[in-house]
């Protein structure tokens, strides 16, 4: 059985800041990042759909310690965003200085762009990653 939205295709779109997901023809749920099966009902009748990349922050952290090879990125902020279409995805928050980030960013509206993590000896190549910036007025 063919994989409907493999990493390679998802990643190619994400590099262009386009977010692809899967719509389930059984239950209507959206799965993102992609999987073989619907993340709600495990159904296999899925079709590729483009998502808005918009949503709101549900949680965040600013890291001051990095894995080997990523020290130059410090400090960086990771967010989990609830997309308007339902799923939660992980990415980085980019348009706020890390020392200004406080608990009240939870709930803020964001929109998605992308950057590339070039990878290391363990990563089998590069991966695009979602990056988020605010999409609201304070």
């Amino acid at each position: 059985m063919d994989y409907k939205l493999p990493f390679k295709e998802y990643n190619r779109a994400l590099r262009k800041s386009r977010l692809l997901g899967l719509r389930c023809n059984s239950c209507g749920a959206i799965t993102c990042p992609p999987k073989m099966s619907c993340q709600e009902c495990t159904g296999l009748d899925l079709e590729v759909t483009e998502l808005s990349g918009k949503g709101s922050i549900v949680t965040y952290t600013t890291s001051f310690g990095a894995p080997q090879g990523r020290e130059n990125e410090l400090p960086y902020t990771i967010v989990i965003v609830q997309l308007d279409e339902g799923p939660w995805i992980m990415g980085n928050l980019i348009d706020m200085e890390t020392d200004k980030i406080t608990f009240d960013i939870i709930g803020r509206r964001v929109k998605m762009g992308s950057r590339v993590y070039p990878g290391d000896v363990y990563s089998a190549g590069a991966s695009a990653r979602p990056v988020f910036s605010f999409d609201d007025q304070i």
Partner: protein, 390 residues
């Protein structure tokens, strides 16, 4: 299904920079477990080995083959289990099932890790391999970050002001160090204060250095046996009466349940049911406190406290040795240390010590403990539980 006993046990000093190789560490604790079971190496029918990062730390794959050969258990079936930080517990569960099913009567379970050989940057990289490599690691996802994300989510979900949650998290670390200081096997044998926690290096907001367990070298081993063998050769067996294991996908895919980990609730429910008990029957628990917030999240899903209230329980002393539910009286991962492949076996070791009333001299005995629970988390979705009774 047959009853399965824990017989003799072995446990290394948990430390930084062990002078021993992984095989040497494992052989020492394995022989302690075997000889204290009144057995010799030749009596062991199969070995179940927990090891996660040995391939990178020492460039050694299939460590199980070298380990059993080293300890004199020549040519026996030996298997390595990898479930990140739960590797050791998963090895125990597998060994339990083989003995329960009647495949074997006497088996060895041993776990080992030499995480400090990696150094902190590479160890951080390797631990992050237990997160989703394609869809979450590119964002810089590490395990401190995982629990930091959960901590902020916990505060927001249960509407707990962050400074209050930080105070509760600090209480977890303070308690672990208070007990770990009394445990001669512990890696970090010193007491700390809440102030120490709140003044320590910020690793990943809101997780500070003293919210984190250390990287650790160490090993632990147990012999498991059928009831028939146990009754013949060993005077103080403990019995594994329930086991559970459950998994889930990457952190963001768990969005319906977070900050609760659904796999933990499914796994412990299975273990409780198999043992015919509930959380109210547990006298002592060793749970997976890789980060202080992890203790709050775990203890609630294990059924000890209402959701969102575990931090208050720690502050009130309900998790102390004489509290409502004594938790991590060994010092936990935080103070005792966390050699990931060995951690689950070490948790089992300390539960059995409690059930055998052997912690009295250390001032760590939970009086009259009859039923213990082991909770171990690997990666962000590999949960394993053991119910142990005397």
């Amino acid at each position: 299904m047959r009853k399965v006993a824990v017989l003799g046990m072995g446990h290394s000093q948990f430390c930084f920079n062990s002078p021993r190789t992984q095989v040497e560490l494992m052989s020492e604790v394995a022989l302690d477990a075997i000889t204290s079971s009144n057995l010799i190496a030749k009596d062991i029918e199969a070995a179940f080995i927990g090891n996660c990062l040995g391939t990178i730390a020492e460039g050694q794959a299939t460590i199980q083959q070298f380990a059993v050969n080293d300890m004199g258990c020549l040519n026996i079936p030996a298997l390595r289990y990898e479930g990140a930080c739960a590797s050791g517990t998963i090895a125990v569960r597998e060994a339990f099932m083989h003995v329960a099913a009647g495949h074997y009567d006497v088996v060895l379970v041993a776990g080992v890790e030499k995480a400090t050989a990696l150094g902190t940057p590479l160890a951080t990289r390797c631990f992050s391999m237990a997160g989703d490599s394609r869809y979450e690691y590119p964002s810089g996802y590490t395990f401190p970050a995982a629990f930091a994300l959960l901590a902020h989510l916990y505060a927001s979900h249960y509407n707990i002001p962050l400074p209050k949650l930080k105070e509760q998290m600090a209480a977890v670390s303070v308690q672990s160090h208070f007990y770990g200081n009394k445990n001669p096997l512990a890696q970090l044998r010193f007491e700390i204060t809440a102030e120490d926690v709140l003044n320590s290096f910020m690793v990943s907001t809101p997780i500070q250095l003293h919210d984190c367990c250390p990287f650790t070298d160490g090993a632990a081993a147990v012999v498991l046996a059928s009831e028939e063998v146990a009754k013949k050769i060993y005077s103080k067996p403990c019995w594994i009466t329930g086991v559970g294991l459950a998994t889930s996908g990457q952190l963001s895919s768990q969005y319906r349940y977070l900050p609760r980990l659904r796999a933990r609730e499914l796994s412990v429910e299975k273990a409780y049911k198999m043992a015919g008990i509930g959380p109210q029957d547990v006298d002592v628990c060793e749970l997976h406190d890789c980060f202080s917030i992890a203790s709050l999240i775990a203890s609630e899903s294990l059924g000890f406290f209402e959701f969102g209230t575990a931090g208050e329980a720690w502050l009130k002393g309900e998790t102390k040795v004489d509290g409502k539910i004594p938790i991590n009286i060994s010092g936990g991962l935080k103070s005792k240390g966390h050699p990931i492949g060995a951690t689950g076996v070490s948790q089992l070791y300390h539960i059995c010590k409690q059930l055998r009333n052997e912690m009295v001299d250390l001032g760590l005995q939970v009086e009259g403990a009859r039923t213990g629970l082991v909770d171990t988390l690997g990666g962000d979705g590999c949960l394993c539980h053991l119910v142990v009774q005397r």
